[in-house]
């Protein structure tokens, strides 16, 4: 049996039915990591001892006839951006090396209460700033479908681990596409829920009006199952919404007949690769054959989204990252003449190039004389973008779009050209500006064997609908079942 290839749904069922023990499951996942990760490098740290201990505890509870929770025995892999009490969280930054959190993120408490087992932390772009995971201070993660290519980012490690069968499900965060784009590059499912759907208490902040926690799985069912545990109101996050989370997985089998899916014409214009376009057009046909009704809609301010986003995100980042001053935690420079120099040198030594760039850009955009021209202007354009979605979503239940203009590109290809890199985020960014839920669903492969996905953007708190459409699509396609060569080789070795 290859438990590391199983779905979360099957694992939870088998553990509950005592067909396998939680320890068996964890041992197989740890074994998969030891075979596959030397090539993919998705993980920053693996907690073998801790994971086995947690598994034994689940098995003990089960043996005593106690409730083990809706995710009992399920190994969950975490992006290295969540605070877990007593454990290191680095955000792939040198500035946080040695930071051991004194508290748990709310999602950690929820997952643990539901019997999940934490196996390790995945690589990411430093402080979630990037689209390739190349901005990590601790090395490059590789795309499981082609080790010379990027896995996407910023949650590249989580996406790569799930796709490479060295994680069953994983968590990430998404500020401008950081879950959906790597899911697409690696060929797994990734959801960014509505802003406010999941508590962000204990998530290291990047851009607070855009950040949202979400999750990865190999199919929609697994994603729905875990999302239900993550979602819900939390007194500790004043931006979390007091709206009950439905049982997403239980509603997946409802028909999608008569659902209206909008096709925003601005998302299919210049810059979209022919192969990605063809794969998405085929997916649209498949959804139509399942009874969905598609209509063309317009989001006229789409071309302004990237400009608005990079001002807003950088401005918020420059403010959020001011806390890393070497006083309360994190890196402090060894030599300094005075307090000011302690601040400047600690930050200069601790942050990487992309983080520094965004701090400078954000500080500049917020500085006296430029605030109105850059920051305020961007906030006003954000209103226009949000209104576009409100208009479109009056007519349809959700939208279908590409996730990224191209499949995964080569490592190093865009790393020295920030603007070109930013421009590739065109299809994922508006969703964060408008606070909507978005999901990325595998729908094909290009001629070089790299995965392609489509994206569904839903109504606020309409995760259930986009999950249902994704699930219906996966019942008639098998792109999500294909296994990357690196996992296949490891399994047969």
């Amino acid at each position: 049996m290859r438990l590391s290839f199983s779905s979360a749904r099957d694992i939870v069922r088998m553990v509950r039915g005592k067909e396998v023990s939680a320890k068996d499951v964890v041992e197989e996942v740890l074994d998969a990591i030891s075979r596959i990760d030397p090539q993919v490098k998705a993980y920053l740290r693996v907690d073998e001892e801790g994971a086995l201990k947690q598994a034994e505890e689940v098995d003990r509870r089960l043996a005593r006839g106690e409730e083990i929770g809706s995710l009992g025995g399920l190994p969950v892999t975490l992006k290295d951006i969540f605070c877990v009490r007593g454990e290191e969280t680095t955000c792939a930054s040198k500035i946080l090396v040695g930071f051991y959190s004194p508290y748990n993120a709310t999602i950690i408490e929820k997952l643990r209460d539901n019997g999940a087992i934490f196996v390790g932390r995945t690589n990411m772009d430093e402080f979630a700033m990037g689209s390739t995971t190349e901005n990590s201070a601790f090395g490059v993660t590789r795309n499981p479908w082609d080790l010379e290519r990027v896995p996407g980012g910023s949650s590249g490690g989580s996406a790569a681990a799930v796709a490479a069968r060295e994680a069953i499900v994983a968590l990430g965060s998404d500020t401008g596409g950081s879950i959906r784009q790597p899911a697409s590059f690696c060929g797994c499912v990734g959801i960014k829920p509505t802003y406010g759907r999941v508590s962000r208490y204990g998530l290291v902040a990047y851009a607070s009006s855009l950040d949202q926690i979400g999750n990865f799985g190999r199919d929609v069912y697994d994603v729905a199952m875990v999302l239900r545990v993550l979602a819900g109101h939390d007194m500790k996050d004043s931006t979390s919404a007091d709206i009950e989370a439905p049982d997403y997985a239980a509603a997946l089998d409802e028909e999608i007949r008569e659902l209206k899916i909008g096709i925003p014409k601005e998302y299919f214009g210049e810059g979209l690769s022919a192969e990605v376009r063809a794969a998405i057009e085929k997916a649209i046909k498949a959804l139509e054959s399942l009874g969905a009704i598609t209509v063309e809609v317009s989001l006229p301010h789409t071309e302004y989204a990237i400009a608005a986003y990079y001002i807003i995100a950088s401005a918020e980042a420059s403010s959020n990252l001011a806390r890393y001053d070497g006083v309360q935690y994190g890196h402090r420079t060894k030599s300094h003449r005075d307090l000011e120099e302690m601040y400047t040198k600690s930050k200069g030594e601790g942050f990487g190039a992309e983080v520094k760039r965004r701090i400078i850009m954000g500080t500049y955009a917020l500085s006296s004389g430029y605030y109105d021209a850059y920051y305020l202007k961007a906030l006003k354009v954000r209103t226009l973008i949000k209104r576009d979605f409100e208009e479109a979503l009056k007519k349809v239940d959700c939208l279908i779009t590409p996730v990224s203009p191209t499949p995964a590109f080569k490592i190093g290809e865009k790393v020295n050209d920030p603007l070109t890199m930013y421009l590739s985020d065109i299809y994922t960014i508006s969703c964060n500006l408008a606070g909507l839920p978005g999901i990325s669903i595998p729908c094909g492969f290009d001629s070089e064997g790299m995965p392609i996905s489509f994206q569904l953007l839903g109504q606020p708190f309409g995760e259930g609908t986009i999950l249902r459409i994704g699930h219906a699509y996966q019942q008639v396609t098998d792109f999500h079942k294909r296994v990357p060569p690196v996992a296949d080789r490891a399994a047969s070795a």
Binding site: T239, V327, K377, T383, L433
Partner: protein
């Protein structure tokens, strides 16, 4: 709008208390200039009568009941600090 210069980058770095090397200042000026030139695209839009959106949720102040709750233990919090002294955070002299 005038283009960003090395002086502007130095000024922003001072505001952000961020040390940059000369090499970083040079490359960053060019890269940030590229991005800001692209951002100038926003000026194609007339936004005179548009309200800004800082936040998508219709939430303003959120209060919790005013009752005593347990907070983090001082030892746990100070345990992460690079330097402490008698239960306090230690930093270089602030006043001369």
């Amino acid at each position: 709008m005038k283009e960003i210069t090395v002086d502007d980058v130095e000024y922003a770095a001072r505001l952000a208390r961020l040390e940059l090397t000369d090499e970083e200042k040079k490359s960053m000026t060019a890269q940030v200039r590229d991005v800001l030139n692209y951002v100038a695209k926003l000026n194609e839009l007339n936004t005179d009568d548009v309200e800004p959106t800082a936040h998508v949720l219709p939430i303003k102040n959120v209060w919790r009941p005013d009752r005593r709750e347990e907070s983090l233990k001082a030892d746990d919090v100070l345990g992460m600090a690079p330097k402490t002294h008698n239960g306090m955070l230690r930093v270089p002299r602030v006043l001369e």
